[in-house]
């Protein structure tokens, strides 16, 4: 269709416009839309983390204002008189986690070495799978098992031996009961072991093969190779894995609440009932009557959150520095 009034330039502009709208149509709408959607979803994740921190702080405010810093140091926890202090729970959390780490850390390092260095590939894969199953069992199931099996077993077989030979230390004296700090610590150890072992194994797998070969070339035995080449190289990652395990132990709730006895007191004996930050929240939150009681419990949650955040940041940085070294060295 020829229009005599139309100049060549007009025609050119028209075609250019039409092609541009055709080519750029899908991009100009689809890409920003898609990026917008996934960016929004990504922001939700970020907002959740910030929201959790802010919301807990706001809801804990009445307790923070009322008790100030003495909240952390006070050993009095009495809903009847509306007096609240976090010390018994901080003590319970720290001690039960310490017991767990003392048992789980060496064992999981052993497991990690076995999986990554010692066992042949086929065996290592099977054992690794079983260790992962250990992590898959729900914590309420561990708690149930600990109430009826582990607790009584510790009371009848382990605690008598401990109090007989170490009874002069207050930690290992006192009446022996199935529910208490020791039982909680042992359950925690079982539960955090697979996590520490998994991260350790990953860290050790990153150690370059050349390091191992160099040690062997010098005539090292297998253990000497591990001690000279593998462990120093993976040290920071191993520590990171243990810190990660500690973070898990601090926050574990249900299994601990089921076996620790839930008494808000600091006792000298490890056999005695105690309470942790997480377990007291699980036990008392629904029954809390006064606003101050609720706020105090939420402040305990805030303490737990702060501990968890700090430990996780530290642990991730340690593990990251251990696993990313490979790339920086090779590059």
């Amino acid at each position: 269709m020829f229009n005599p009034d139309e100049t060549l330039n007009d025609r050119f502009e028209f075609v250019k416009e039409r092609t541009a709208s055709r080519i750029f149509h899908p991009r100009s709408l689809g890409d920003p839309l898609f990026t917008g959607i996934i960016a929004t979803l990504a922001v939700i994740v970020l907002a959740l983390l910030i929201g959790i921190a802010i919301e807990l702080t706001v809801k804990a405010m009445p307790a923070i204002r009322h008790f100030g810093l003495s909240f952390l140091a006070s050993t009095e926890w009495n809903p009847a008189t509306d007096e609240y202090g976090a010390m018994p729970f901080i003590y319970g959390t720290v001690v039960s986690s310490a017991i767990a780490l003392m048992i789980a850390a060496p064992l999981s390092l052993g497991v990690a070495l076995c999986l990554s260095e010692m066992a042949p590939e086929w065996l290592s894969r099977k054992l690794g799978f079983l260790i992962e199953l250990l992590a898959a069992i729900p914590s309420v199931v561990y708690g149930l098992w600990a109430i009826f099996v582990l607790g009584p077993w510790l009371r009848d077989w382990v605690e008598p031996v401990l109090s007989r030979y170490l009874g002069f230390i207050p930690l290992f004296s006192g009446p022996r009961v199935a529910v208490g700090m020791l039982t909680a610590g042992v359950v925690l150890a079982i539960m955090i072991l697979p996590y520490i072992a998994a991260v350790c194994t990953e860290v050790l797998r990153v150690v370059p093969q050349s390091q191992r070969e160099a040690a062997f070339a010098l005539g090292a035995t297998k253990w000497e190779m591990v001690r000279m080449a593998v462990l120093p190289y993976g040290a920071s990652g191993i520590i990171g894995a243990i810190v990660l395990g500690l973070g898990r132990a601090l926050g574990e709730t249900i299994a601990v609440a089921m076996v620790i006895g839930n008494r808000p007191v600091i006792s000298a004996s490890l056999f005695a009932p105690s309470s942790t930050l997480a377990s007291v929240i699980a036990n008392e939150f629904v029954e809390a009557v006064t606003d101050l009681n609720v706020a105090a419990l939420i402040e305990l949650g805030l303490v737990l959150l702060a501990l968890g955040l700090i430990l996780n940041v530290v642990a991730r940085l340690l593990v990251l520095s251990a696993t990313q070294r490979r790339f920086s060295r090779v590059a």
């Binding site: 689809g30 052993g110 076995c114 149930l144 098992w145 253990w223 089921m258 419990l297």
Partner: protein, 294 residues
């Protein structure tokens, strides 16, 4: 004379080598022992579950409501359905957000927001689940005015999101860049490339991550205590409290009644069977190609 010195040296050296090898073997044995010790609880727990729980798992257990103390029989039908309902709803909320955020983090690798989100997801995995329970209590339960199915699902979703985000990201980063380049060279827009080529290639890995996240939240108790709460009867609406296997097992386990404790063992057996079936099933299907979400 020379001969004796040489042989003494040789004997000394051989002795030393023997000791070093002995020490090495001993340490290898110790690590193996550590692994065996670590696995003992797994078999003990599974063994006790079977021996104490199996006898109480029967038809009634799956079809009847719980009965008050003193009455015989009863089951956990509402708790089993409740667990599926909570996990299903949580997945509906958590999976899209997790996948979307994961795609963003992978596709905009190295950009400020992406790094911040990645770090946030890492940190969120370390937040104790009971803290998430408190958060949901404050933002859902309190404003709405009561414990509800919705609140429980939201709590589980929040636990699920960082797990899905991180596996999605890791699986997308494993996709060879050549695939993306081929699609872009054909003139396919970025978003189509991402969805139909990159994400599609990573689908099986992402699915594995989602199923492992589902297994994880199925076993959660703490965040449900004051969100979904629990219910002795059927829950008919999303605004009502709802029973779940985990909370039911918890309540029964700490009760002083023998009949309830038996039910707790049965519930724990069913719960563990579901969770382990998911874990083992997904690994069996993918043959360990995808790494577990932690």
């Amino acid at each position: 004379m020379d001969n004796t010195i040489a042989s003494t040296m040789r004997r000394k050296y051989a002795r030393r080598l023997f000791l070093r090898k002995l020490k090495s073997d001993l340490m290898v044995g110790l690590t193996l022992l550590a692994t065996v010790i670590a696995l003992v609880p797994l078999f003990l727990v599974l063994g006790y579950l079977l021996s104490k729980g199996a006898s109480s798992v029967n038809w009634d257990f799956f079809t009847k409501l719980p009965v008050p103390v003193g009455q015989a029989g009863g089951g956990m039908a509402n708790a089993i359905v409740g667990t599926f309902e909570l996990v299903g709803l949580a997945s509906l909320i958590g999976v899209p957000i997790g996948i979307g955020a994961g795609i963003y983090v992978a596709e905009h690798h190295g950009r400020g927001l992406a790094q911040a989100v990645r770090f946030a997801a890492d940190i969120m995995m370390g937040i104790p689940s009971i803290v998430i329970g408190i958060f949901v209590y404050a933002v859902v339960v309190q404003p709405v005015g009561g414990f509800s199915t919705m609140a429980g699902a939201v709590a589980l979703a929040i636990i699920m999101i960082p797990l899905v985000t991180r596996t999605t990201e890791e699986m997308i980063l494993l996709v060879p860049p050549e695939l993306r380049e081929a699609a872009l060279a054909l003139g396919v827009p970025d978003w189509r490339t991402t969805l139909s080529v990159v994400v599609r290639t990573a689908t099986s890995g992402i699915a594995t991550g989602i199923i492992l996240a589902i297994a994880r939240i199925t076993g959660e108790t703490a965040p449900l205590l004051f969100t979904a709460f629990g219910n002795r009867f059927w829950s008919t609406s999303l605004t009502q409290p709802i029973a779940s296997l985990t909370v039911q097992v918890y309540t029964y386990a700490i009760s002083p009644f023998a009949s309830w404790q038996r039910q707790a063992w049965a519930g724990a057996l069913v719960l563990t069977t579901i969770v382990l079936a998911l874990e083992i099933g997904v690994r069996w299907v993918t043959q360990g190609s995808a790494r577990a979400a932690r």
